[in-house]
Structures are given as C-alpha cells and as structure tokens.
C-alpha cells in the first residue's frame, strides 16, 4: 500500500479508457474475425483487469513486494488450473 496520492484527472483517464474498451469489445463481437473474436475479447478483458489492478488497486505504486508475489502466485495458480484441465479435456475423445 502506498501513501502516494494520485490526481483525480488520472483516475478519470483510467475510467474513460475502461469505458472505451467496454464499447470496443461489445462492438468487435459483431464482426466476424473467426477464432480471433475470442482472442480479442480476452485480450481486452485482461487489459481492463490490468488497468483496474495496477491503478485503481494501487498495485503499481505499492512498495510491498510480498503483495505483488501473492497476486502473481494467485494468477499463476489459476492459469495452472485452467491449462492442465484443458490439456486433459482437449486431448480426450468425447463420446
């Protein structure tokens, strides 16, 4: 956690960026891009999540390395869960 106080303009800028990304992701979903529709949707969602985590949740300005370790570990654990589960299901023959 930090004592760092950011200007309200900065928060408004993040807010505008999040709203723009929301409109973009909804609009792009109507365009036929094949498998890239899903890729783009997830890239935009992750960008939005990063904006929230880094700036609204102040992770970018935290001095506490332990906090960052916990976050990275949690996300890594989630990806392990998803990746290993899908490695199983995508290589099975579903009857």
């Amino acid at each position: 956690m930090s004592e760092h106080i950011m200007s309200s303009k900065f928060y408004y800028a993040i807010w505008i960026a999040l709203l723009c990304l929301t409109v973009i992701t909804a609009a792009v979903s109507f365009v036929n891009l094949g498998p890239f529709n899903t890729v783009i949707a997830l890239v935009i969602a992750t960008s939005k999540a990063l904006l929230v985590v880094l700036f609204f949740m102040h992770v970018k300005y935290t001095s506490e390395k332990l906090t960052k370790t916990v976050i990275v570990a949690a996300v890594f654990w989630l990806l392990l869960l998803l990746a290993l589960s899908m490695a199983d299901y995508t290589t099975r023959l579903l009857s």
Partner: protein
C-alpha cells in the same frame, strides 16, 4: 519493557500495539486482503474452469445461449460497475486527503451504482424466466432451436450453459450484495469521522474488494455475453 524505544503514548488510538508503526499495520492489512482475494480467485476459478470445459465441449449451445442474453443490458451493467470502481477509487483518494464529506458522497454514489447493477441484473434474470431459460423442469430452448436452425441445439447441453450463466452471475451478485453491506458500514463510519489521512485502511480494503468484484465482471461480460455474436451467414 519500560525501556522500549517505541513511545507507545505518542501514536494515536488507531495504531494497534503489536505493530511497529502505521505503515507496517497498513502493509499487514493489505497483504491479508490480497491473500483473501487470492482465495476468491480460486473460488471463482473453479467455476471458470467448469465454464471453459463445457464451452469447449458444447460450443454451439453456448453460442446460442450467449446470443439470447441482452447485450445492451450487459454492456450498460459493465459501464455501471466501471463507474462504481471510479467512485471507489476517488473515495479512497478523498479519505487519503481527509475530505470527509466528499468521501461520504462517493461511498453513497457507489452504493447507488451497486443497486443499479443489481436492478439491471434482476431485469435480465426476469427476461430469462419469461423465456423459460431457467434450468429445471420448465426449461425450454425450442425458441433458440427455431432462431438458429443452422446449428444443432441439444436441450440438455443448453441447460448447462444457463446453469453456468446463473451460477456465475448469481455468485457475482452475491459478492455485490456483500460489498453493498460493507459499503453501508463504511459510509456510516465515514460519516462519523472515523477515517482520517492517518487511518483509512478499511476504506482502502473495502475498495480492493469492490475492484476485485468489478474484475470478475470484466471477465464474465465477454465470457457469457460475447461468445458468438457474429452474423450467422
């Protein structure tokens, strides 16, 4: 320990005696909150994993189900939550600067936006009820089969999509309700003047929770509403 170098009398009542200083106390609270959020990621993670497996297995039914939920309500709700995250972030800033009235106003705005989100969600759920898309005995996806004759829609598999839709949005809504309860509590004590620039940890922690719930929705929106909106032909 009378010769302790730490003069206990010199700090305010907000610093608990087992912490060296306010910074250590804040860091401990922050770490604890992030550990809790890590367990929350796992909590939602199991359901996201179930979603991923079934979406992979029954893509057609997931795409048809996704088309049937209102993208406008979903987009508006995403915007509502993002606005509430802004008011929370500005609220933490107001607390850091000791602006009590501004903090109370921003917390109240957050609560209003939270209720707006739940209201819109309720409208959406009611639409699903009218369309008989709630999993169970009365479930009927014939309307989807008729709307998309190009793709085969299995009623049982379609129910899996809607089960996950209701479980994920329901669990998210439950988190919103808990968050609203927290914020009512925070607003009351903010009004009482408990939070100062030296001690605003509960505001910051409540904010972390609210932002986390926002992030869950940021992923739920594309995963549930935007699976496949492309023109069929």
């Amino acid at each position: 320990m009378s010769d302790s170098p730490i003069a206990v009398e010199q700090h305010g009542p907000e610093l608990l005696h087992h912490f060296v200083d306010a910074e250590q106390q804040r860091d401990a609270a922050s770490l604890g909150m992030w550990l809790f959020l890590a367990t929350e990621i796992m909590f939602f993670g199991g359901m996201f994993c179930a979603y991923l497996i079934y979406r992979y297995s029954y893509y057609n039914e997931f795409a048809a189900g996704s088309r049937s939920i209102d993208i406008w309500l979903g987009t508006i709700n995403t915007a509502v939550l993002i606005c509430s995250s802004l008011t929370v972030a500005l609220g933490v800033r107001a607390a850091q600067m000791g602006k009590r009235k501004l903090l109370v106003i921003l917390l109240l705005l957050t609560i209003v936006l939270g209720f707006a989100f739940l209201g819109i969600k309720g409208v959406e759920w009611h639409d699903k009820y009218k369309e008989r898309h709630i999993p169970g005995n009365s479930f009927n996806a014939d309307d989807l089969a008729k709307a998309y004759p190009e793709i085969h829609i299995d009623q049982q598999h379609e129910q899996i999509y809607f089960s996950l839709y209701f479980a994920l949005t329901g669990l998210h809504a439950l988190h919103m309700i808990i968050g609203l309860g927290l914020f009512v509590f925070l607003t009351y004590y903010a009004w009482k003047g408990r939070y100062t620039p030296k001690y605003y940890t509960p505001i910051e922690m409540g904010g972390l929770y609210w932002h986390f719930v926002d992030i869950v929705w940021i992923y739920l929106f594309p995963l549930l509403y935007l699976i496949d909106r492309r023109p069929l032909r």
